[in-house]
């Protein structure tokens, strides 16, 4: 349990540094540190699937961020913040903090999800009959690819659509230039 507080402190410090520093490269590296702290937290919560996905996406995202920011932008930020924007952000964050305290009072304790206690919850069926019904030893993959495969189909469709948009908008030549015999 103390492990989570240490990781939480690490993540908070990294987030503060990422916002407050003037150097863009150290800011990007701090964002990566936040992600790695999160993936360590998933690992200690015994969710290795999510930890693997988090760490892999984090590495790729960090590479893209560094390549996109460092090589083609000014990496040093100067100048003061606007007073009005700071006040508005602080007030909004404070309101969200108060609402969050009220919400967290109603949640069950950490590590005891409500699905694990309700006897007729859907997750109880997955745990007890998943191995027999799907034959997969990894219950997570049996849920996301068998019981809840519709969700995965929707996720794949979202990814497919976004890739189509990216390749259409960001292509090198327009259709007119492609028909041009000179190019």
């Amino acid at each position: 349990m103390e492990m989570f507080y240490i990781l939480l402190l690490f993540i908070i410090i990294a987030a503060v540094i990422a916002v407050e520093t003037n150097d863009l490269l150290s800011s990007v590296i701090c964002v990566g540190a936040i992600g790695f702290g999160g993936s360590l937290m998933f690992l200690f919560l015994r969710a290795p699937d999510i930890a693997i996905t988090q760490i892999v996406v984090e590495v790729l995202g960090l590479i893209i961020l560094i390549r996109a920011t460092i090589s083609r932008d000014r990496t040093f930020i100067s100048g003061d913040r606007e007073f009005f924007g700071v006040v508005v952000s602080v007030v909004i964050i404070f309101v969200i903090f108060l609402a969050g305290i009220r919400v967290f009072e109603t949640l069950p304790a950490f590590g005891t999800p409500i699905f694990a206690q309700a006897p007729d919850a859907a997750s109880q069926t997955y745990i007890s009959e998943g191995m027999q019904k799907t034959g997969a030893a990894n219950l997570v993959s049996s849920v996301i690819l068998d019981f809840r495969a519709y969700d995965t189909l929707g996720e794949a469709t979202v990814l497919f659509t976004s890739i189509i948009g990216a390749t259409v908008i960001l292509r090198r030549k327009s259709k007119k230039l492609l028909e041009d015999p000179d190019e």
Binding site: L60, R72, T134, L145
Partner: protein
């Protein structure tokens, strides 16, 4: 800071004009050793997704990461020779079609429902195939489809981003290696 950037840009321009693309020889050598291991690890994560932690998404991202490593080390042209943009988009579509076909097979074979695990329910149920590589019916096939799709998609995103970034400002492009 700007002086340093100008210096590094000048060095890169000089290297590019000498016909050297990408990073230094240390990075190139290491990444030419490591790329195969990363690719194999991605394939392992995908194929054993129904037995060990991992699965199609994480394995596909690792497959894309091996190509991104090549792109960073050797330059974009080297990667485009190996896996060009049309081939990658065809792989992407093939993954999506494979996943949809697996879903439709559940509908056709058992006349039961979309995404019915027909291989497991019809052929493997009751046998001692648990904890083996060939088990769980359609789940490994779905993992392969998702991995193909995610890997090709992320590779396509980075490839198109690098092409777009390079051609965005042709005159003032700092380094032509991406």
């Amino acid at each position: 800071m700007e002086q340093e950037q100008q210096n590094s840009n000048a060095v890169q321009q000089e290297r590019i004009s000498n016909g050297v693309k990408g990073m230094t020889i240390i990075v190139k050598t290491i990444s030419s050793w490591v790329k195969v291991l990363i690719f194999l690890f991605g394939i392992y994560i995908i194929l054993f997704g129904h037995l060990t932690p991992g699965g199609g998404f994480a394995g596909g991202v690792i497959l894309a990461a091996s190509y991104v490593l090549l792109m960073l080390a050797f330059g974009r042209e080297f990667v485009e020779e190996n896996l060009s943009l049309p081939v990658a988009s065809k792989l992407d579509c093939a993954g999506a079609l494979l996943f949809a076909a697996i879903a439709l097979c559940g509908l056709l074979y058992g006349a039961s429902s979309f995404f019915w695990n027909f291989i497991h329910q019809k052929y493997l149920m009751g046998t001692d195939y648990e904890f083996r590589l060939i088990s769980a019916g359609t789940i490994p096939l779905s993992n392969i489809a998702i991995g193909l799709k995610v890997g090709a998609s992320l590779f396509l995103v980075i490839l198109t981003l690098s092409i777009c970034c390079k051609d965005f400002k042709p005159g003032t492009s700092a380094n032509g290696k991406e």
